[in-house]
């Protein structure tokens, strides 16, 4: 069966008792792409991945992974995918090297070849030094890297990554992101579940936003942002007494100004980044001292808010010191 879709799911359903954890999910993931499944905790991401990875049998709907039916041809699916689960899928009582050798043997490498493959992956993922330590003593970031390395003992056509950076420090998170980018560049299709908006934004070619078991929006990060429209300019002044004056200028440049609870802060919608920047320049020309401003690209969080009426996480802002 030839199709350029790596994953094709229609009306997938999984219920746990009364709870419809996954409630009619459709997905179409092109081969070679990184596809983000974005949603808050409990949205049904892991349950969806587990059905696609043949760990759970769907209660309704159907799914094909690389052309194979996940129920009827589960074994064929298992032959071409790898899973890096939300719980670290490494064996805590084994060393990193032993974990990889074990998987090497389970994929069909014989003694020496399994060891060589393990060492090669340990090197590529920067785990040489930790190779002979028990993985229960690994840091979160090391464990994640080992986990991903374990998924690559043989190169999968499709990799499931379930919240690969949850709980990681920024440096480890960036390492994982680099790995995902390298995999994509090498042609591996990746289904990435995440609750971090910036993660999907950074990595994914396409995103499905899911909430309470349903896909509520779909598109490229750009399309999703465009659907919300305006960016927000937030300004904090050095001197609160200048706020009325600043309000006047911003209202003239951009439109209705919102006065924040903080007496030195105000915010205003901006149709695009250029206009926002001009408004800031206008403030300083008028002699108003700006302590800080942020020109929020409409974030995926705002997308989420617009789509669901509730936020997925607290918005992260990049403060630009004035």
């Amino acid at each position: 069966m030839t199709t350029n879709l790596a994953i094709e799911a229609s009306s997938l359903v999984k219920t746990f008792g009364d709870l419809r954890a996954v409630d009619g999910v459709d997905l179409a993931v092109p081969r070679g792409s990184v596809y983000g499944v974005l949603g808050p905790n409990g949205a049904g991401k892991t349950t969806t991945i587990r059905m696609l990875a043949t760990l759970l049998t769907p209660d309704g709907g159907s799914a094909h992974v690389l052309g194979h039916d996940v129920v009827k041809e589960a074994d064929a699916v298992r032959g071409v995918v790898s899973l890096t689960g939300q719980m670290a899928s490494v064996d805590e009582d084994l060393t990193g090297r032993e974990n990889l050798i074990l998987l090497g043997r389970l994929y069909g490498f014989k003694g020496k070849a399994a060891k060589a493959r393990a060492d090669e992956l340990l090197g590529a993922f920067g785990l040489d030094d930790a190779a002979t330590r028990l993985t229960k003593n690994y840091s979160g970031g090391m464990r994640r890297r080992l986990d991903i390395a374990a998924s690559l003992v043989v190169t999968p056509e499709l990799l499931f990554l379930d919240e690969p950076t949850t709980g990681l420090d920024p440096r480890s998170r960036n390492q994982v992101w680099d790995i995902v980018r390298a995999l994509r560049a090498a042609g591996t299709t990746i289904l990435l579940c995440t609750q971090y908006l910036d993660e999907a934004d950074q990595l994914a070619d396409g995103i499905a936003v899911i909430d309470r078991g349903k896909v509520i929006a779909e598109g490229t990060p750009g399309q999703l942002k465009a659907s919300v429209g305006n960016a927000t300019l937030q300004v904090r002044l050095l001197n609160p007494e200048q706020r009325p004056q600043a309000e006047q200028i911003l209202a003239r440049e951009l439109g209705a100004v919102h006065l924040e609870p903080d007496p030195s802060a105000l915010s205003v919608q901006s149709p695009d980044a250029d206009k926002g920047a001009e408004a800031v320049v206008a403030l300083s020309r008028a002699g108003i001292s700006v302590a800080a401003f942020t020109l929020g690209q409409p974030s995926l969080d705002e997308v989420f808010l617009a789509l669901t009426g509730h936020t997925a996480e607290t918005q992260e802002e990049e403060e630009v010191k004035a």
Binding site: L55, G79, S89, R105, L106, R117, V154, A185, T188
Partner: protein, 270 residues
């Protein structure tokens, strides 16, 4: 592109995919995993060594005089029974450790591998068989130190081998239980609730003739009794062929029924 990137891309494309491993190799890989766990967490061997030692000392010195009139005579009677009991008790831990395993993410990965379905279970039990051998060896060694003399030394090792094979069969019961129940302690409790009466209502510790007739009838058909008879016979050097055959048949029967069941549950457990 960073050097990491290049290393990862090289690692991705470096080797062709080998053919899938056969059933035997896959199971052996999991058996190796079991060995590594024993190596890294040797404490887990305490369970399987301390309990048998306690039982042996307790039965010999505490009950021996009362049951058989002398500790030496009772040791001769009870050692084969204790061998069977100790090793069969150890099988409960196979269910417990499988259940513990299920709470870890590693099992998810194993379940998405294209391998012979029962391989993780067969391999784990092969690893456990090493524990059975250890438990049995501890009992036999201590028995000999305390004065037990088998009629046949090779028979004694044959008895250990038969007990391990028998227990391999029994352990499928507990791996099934390990997949049906939610927590390791539930498996432990249910397992012992089942195996304790079964072991004590056998001829391992008392002559069946001394029991009320209803009990005696049960004791005589209890597979643990038959296994114990086989072990006694092998150690004495006058084994009854049918006892050995029935013990093997029980192991084969339990494996035939409960291995596929366990395997199915392992694959389908959410």
């Amino acid at each position: 592109m960073s050097t990491d990137d290049i290393a990862i891309r090289n690692a991705l494309s470096s080797v062709p995919r080998p053919p899938r491993p056969g059933a035997f190799n896959a199971a052996m890989a999991f058996g190796w995993r079991g060995m590594l766990k024993i190596k890294h967490v040797p404490e887990q061997l305490l369970d399987v060594t301390i309990t048998p030692v306690m039982f042996l000392l307790m039965f010999t010195y505490l009950f021996g005089g009362a049951i058989a009139g002398s500790t030496g005579e009772y040791l001769d009677y009870v050692l084969p029974g204790l061998l069977v009991m100790s090793v069969v008790f150890t099988t409960v831990y196979s269910g417990v450790s499988l259940n513990t395993d299920l709470t870890k993410g590693a099992v998810d990965r194993f379940r998405t591998l294209p391998i012979w379905r029962p391989a993780p279970l067969v391999g784990a039990l092969l690893g456990d068989a090493v524990r059975y051998v250890i438990a049995g060896t501890v009992i036999m060694t201590l028995g000999v130190i305390l004065g037990f003399r088998p009629g046949s030394w090779p028979g004694m090792f044959a008895a250990l081998a038969l007990t391990v094979v028998f227990s391999f069969g029994v352990s499928w019961l507990f791996t099934t239980l390990g997949l049906l129940l939610r927590s390791p302690s539930a498996v432990m409790n249910a397992g012992f609730m089942f195996i304790f009466p079964l072991t004590f209502l056998s001829n391992a510790f008392v002559e069946p003739e001394t029991l009320p007739s209803v009990l005696e009838a049960f004791v005589n058909v209890n597979p643990i009794s038959i296994m114990t008879d086989a072990a006694r016979g092998l150690m004495a050097g006058d084994a009854v062929g049918s006892d050995v055959a029935i013990s093997l048949a029980v192991a084969a029967g339990l494996t035939a029924v409960f291995m596929p069941l366990t395997s199915h549950l392992y694959r389908t457990r959410g």
